[in-house]
Amino acid sequence: MNVLLDHLPQFREGFLGTLALTAASAALALVLGIIMAGFRVSPIPPLRAFGTAWVTLLRNTPLTLLFLIAFFVVPQIFFPGTSPFVLAMIALGCYTSSFVCEAVRSGINTVPLGQAEAARSLGMSFTQTLRLIVLPQATRTVIPPMSSIFIALTKNSAIAGAFSNAELFNVSKLLSDKGFPIGWIFLWVALCYLVITFTISGAFRLLESRLEVAR
């Protein structure tokens, strides 16, 4: 108990750090994932191939390796002086975007055929069909897997702590280095993560019931 009370500022900072990192990389992953899903169903072969390669490569790479690339290669060679937060966001966002892409793509597959056919027969182009007809209807089926993707993202953000980002894993590491009992630290950090993951799954369930249509 004392560990938490004595180090409340650190815990708060770590909690907020995890939240900020999760939110930022979730936004990046969402944008990238939807673009990649669009690429994967587009009529243009090179873009399709690029989307497929992106998903296959990123899904089969360990996240730690991506972090290593982000922290040792990107700043040295491309953009020197990028803050660790942005680097962690890039690694997490790109990794998660491959999962978002697959979720969105399978969501697109669940929209009834007639919808796209009707859109086409009204003379809509590919982007119009996707943007106005298919994606809005796919949203409903994409939400449940998206909730598990974001929960996985929250947990993956712990790896950023190993690369000296201020977040919950980092806090537990620092405190245990100072010699505080690891059991208690573990308990409190676990509680913090449980709060975040339960909030995410609750929010998504709320969203789901809001978007639900009586059939």
């Binding site: 009529p43 790479t61 730690t64 290593l68 491309f78 537990s172 630290i185």
Partner: protein, 311 residues
Amino acid sequence: MSASVLYDAPGPKARIRNRVYSVIGTLAVVGLIVFAVLRLNAKGQFAPEMWEIFNYAGVRTSIRDGVLTTLQVFAVASVLSLVFGVLLAVARLSDHKPVRWLATGFIELFRAIPLLITIYVLWVLFLTYRTDLGLTGDSTGFWALVIGLTVYNGSVQAEVLRAGINSVPRGQREAAYALGMSKTQVMTTVLIPQAVRAMLPTIISQLVVTLKDTSLGYVITYQELLFQLQQLASNTVVNDDNPYIPVIIVGGVIYIAMCLALSSLATWIERRGRRAKTGIPVADAAQPLAAADALDPVDQPGPEQAAGKTG
């Protein structure tokens, strides 16, 4: 919906437009790659000397050792996590309330906590009590990694298996009980074999996750492949620079090859299962993302839902 439903068969104008977009798209992708390669080349990462390091026996041995260590951790952790997963799944479906609660609590707890934190805490604990546990040298990191992976992946495998067991048609269980089989017999000879068959693609996909997660050993400075690569890159100096790019390219190819081999096995089994007419629906080969579906009040998810439907 196949992709072609989203757009018409291209006419003459659309064909020209698609070709223009193809060229632009290709140019953009190629341009990005060329930009990266040029920047790296300017930093001397593609200099022949950088790549010559792979000719040295020491470098090769350390990469080989890294691969072997990673595979060793993966082998032990996957076997243990499968055994543990079966036990947890059975416990969660048990008729005795305390056993069920205990298993549910355990699964929920360890699925909600980042694997990295579990591994780190185990590592610190093992380091603290290493003499009592009889651990020496490298084995502290090894067991922290293996047990962390086992606990987490075992919980996920348990959920996958439970979904599989629940997806077995009810008549199977009833028929088995009607034949006078005991609970254990029903579970081991009727339900689990069918559940494993239905969930095999998902189980193997989770093994891919286990393989990827062995790289977390890097954080607890255990000598697996990623740690070896990082050490290699930061201890070698060629032309006043560390050969990060060559090492990462080689290491990335090794990792991706190992994971792709395993996940294509899952996809192959999925296709094969779809073809067979046994009446057991086979789950997706998508990697189960864990966590959310366990929090769901829905008690009997089919194999499709349990797989998270990501593929």
